[in-house]
Symmetry: none
Subunit: 130 residues, 4 copies
DNA sequence: GTGGTCTAGACCACT
DNA sequence: GTGGTCTAGACCACG
């Protein structure tokens, strides 16, 4: 697979965007367990950022169990046994979701709107995997 | 209403935390349209942060149409006609939600889990308003 | 307290040595809960290393719950509620201890020697705290 | 004896892991004085690593007196008269143990916990030798 | 002044 | 060629 990472207009740090794109790739099935990731140098050159920035993204992914970094060998997707389970996700994402709901509710946006948005992204990501 | 803002373990900037707490207050109905907000000095002293920090939070809230700053009169909640509507929300929160869904999906977490979590926070916030 | 960190002849990475020295300070009671740590720049200048190296050590300590990094404010010891408990320690240190025992046993070194060495360092560190 | 070396999740260099596994084998009595070790090629092929890597591990073991490399005859365990004695062990492992104790003490873990863990691994390794 | 991020370039250990 | 470590210097956000 060809990783296509586009750093966009976001105000997020670059390493976060890289991290999110890769997680997204795993989520959509475009990146499968065992797949090799480009080296920090290669990916950095490809998307025009410093290798340290890519490295930081990889470290984050490693910390969260999404990838495995093997010294002198390369970096590989590790989608098989996710260390974090649903409970861990709920715990670590609670604040994010709460803030999201606060924003929505303060604008009188119905919960169904959020449900639909979530479904939309689920469909989009699951669709890629076919 | 008594604003209870606790700054803590988060790695978010303080002004963001203040902003989120106030939005949350509006969302839950604890802060209603027209309600006065403490002055930047008062709130700053209360929660032990620099007044510039509070000011920045207020500016953000004003920009997004959540509050109205009336020079030398005070600051007031403006929950009635929110400047941002649902369309704006969808546009501005898309990336956040996409990242959230990516994280969840990569952990094989079903979309219904996210639905339930969202409902949970909706209920929690709506419950406070009664 | 005056942090005295001496980078030695070890073949460990510098950031690890810094990390270990600070954990040692906490263990001995020389660093107490809430104590401020020098800024990355200050400490870096003091011991003659780059601020990024110090930063990496601090990040490790933060990850393990030993310190709290507050943006724009500083860094503080967090010895109160250790996130990792005994169970976590056993899990994360098992390999280290196993390797240690392997080395010792292959040299026909009795287990009591290890016990004594451990006691020695316990005494040394606990002695400093008085 | 069938050497079972599993390289895996560790972030240690592979040659270190091989070295540790063999020392562990000696410690447990599964490898006895005079036992032949597989050739670097054989072992390398078996566990899927470069023969240079195996070679480096053997060189380390030779340096520390654990094995004897006889040119064109093979490699043999030398568990009888270990070059390093207890004094040498204490000197070379002091830092390791100190770091271990620091970690434990900072988490308020009692020294007896460490004693028990050490005994556990002693028992485990000694048990294999029967 | 604090930590956060990013760049650039270097050397090393390992495979 | 890969990741690991370290340095140096820069700009930014925050308080």
């Amino acid at each position: 697979m060809q990783l296509s990472i586009d750093l966009g207009s976001s105000d997020q740090p670059i390493y976060q965007q890289i991290r999110d794109e890769i997680v997204s790739g795993i989520a959509s099935g475009q990146l499968r367990d065992g797949d090799p990731l480009p080296s920090v140098r290669t990916l950095g050159a490809e998307i025009g950022v410093n290798l340290h920035t890519v490295n930081k993204a990889y470290k984050l992914l490693q910390r969260d169990g999404f990838i495995e970094i093997q010294r002198s060998r390369g970096t590989f997707v590790r989608a098989g046994d996710t260390a974090k389970n649903a409970a861990g996700f709920i715990e670590s994402s609670g604040r994010r979701i709460q803030a999201l709901v606060s924003d929505a509710l303060s604008l009188k946006i119905d919960r169904t709107v959020l449900h639909h948005m979530i479904d939309h992204y689920y469909d989009e990501l699951e669709g890629k995997g076919s």
